[in-house]
């Protein structure tokens, strides 16, 4: 089974690194879309079915918290697993997004192994990978 994934980050470099990491992780990726901010991500997510969203928090126009809130309040899109990839390491912020159903929190800078473990945990349910709400970095 191939997974459809959206990467949301205002840095093209980070999006490229995540894309490369996804391909290296061995996970079968179907559609892979990129968005600069939450607003662009919503347009993409409303236009098709996606299995996973990677999102940054600090972004212009619509930030990651606003995106997470919008998805949490949408009957259909609230089921899409969300992984936050951010420089923000505040425990209050991490608790805030956990409470909204975010499945994993990866702190930048991250290693390819972190992303691989998160994917295994969230999408595949690898018992050796991370699942549930996890914090890395």
């Amino acid at each position: 089974m191939a997974y459809n994934i959206v990467i949301v980050d205002d840095s093209a470099t980070v999006r490229a690194v995540l894309k490369k990491t996804l391909h290296l992780s061995g996970v079968a990726v179907g559609v892979l879309k990129e968005a600069n901010n939450g607003r662009e991500a919503l347009e993409i997510l409303r236009d098709g079915w996606f299995d996973l969203v990677f999102t940054d928090i600090n972004m212009p126009e619509m930030n990651g918290i606003e995106l997470i809130n919008t998805l949490a309040n949408d009957e259909v899109m609230s089921t899409i697993p969300i992984v936050v990839v951010s420089t923000d390491g505040s425990s209050s912020r991490i608790e805030e997004v956990k409470a909204k159903g975010v499945r994993a929190y990866v702190r930048k800078p991250f290693t390819p192994e972190c992303i691989r473990d998160v994917i295994n945990g969230v999408l595949i349910g690898d018992p050796n990978g991370d699942d549930g709400v996890i914090e890395i970095g």
Binding site: V14, S86, T87, G89, S90, S91, P109
Partner: protein, 156 residues
């Protein structure tokens, strides 16, 4: 401010070196700015501001040549293979963004909440950089033969 008095520049130095190492596989060395070689090339200046528990700004100056190096390192490609469409300042903005996020928790602790504004970047001519360097008060590093300036300015 942290409960125990810590030198913010010492924390910033440690964090910057860690981010550069872990994300870009590059090693920075401290350099005395007065003894650092002259720079005669176009530079980029990146700033990021934060607010919330407290307010302030981080500033990073680095050469266009070094922006290209960190772009290649981030993407895992040789510098000659970087696509022409890539914004070379993007990796510099992200370097400062990651440094700032790590600095916030390393210096202020994990409890306070901050919002970081998207980093802003502008070009500096060699002459403008020389003036910046003359009055600079912060950290200075060399990565190979690239001079990097990094500073922290808390808002009173």
């Amino acid at each position: 401010m942290p409960a125990i008095e810590i030198d913010p520049l010492a924390v910033l130095r440690q964090v910057f070196m860690k981010v550069l190492d872990e994300q870009m596989f590059l090693f920075a060395e401290d350099v005395d700015l007065a003894e650092a070689p002259a720079v005669d090339e176009p530079m980029s200046a990146v700033t990021i501001t934060y607010h919330g528990y407290s307010r302030g700004e981080l500033y990073l100056a680095l050469s266009h040549r070094f922006c290209r190096i960190i772009t290649g390192s981030s993407l895992g490609v040789d510098e000659s293979e970087i696509p022409a469409s890539v914004d070379l300042n993007d990796a510099a903005r992200e370097l400062l963004n990651m440094t700032c996020g790590q600095f916030m928790t390393a210096y202020f602790g994990e409890e306070p909440v901050f919002d970081l504004c998207p980093p802003q970047c502008c070009d500096l001519t060699a002459e403008e950089f020389a003036e910046t360097r003359r009055v600079f008060n912060g950290l200075s590093f060399m990565v190979d033969d690239n001079l990097i300036l990094l500073s922290y300015t808390p808002e009173a």
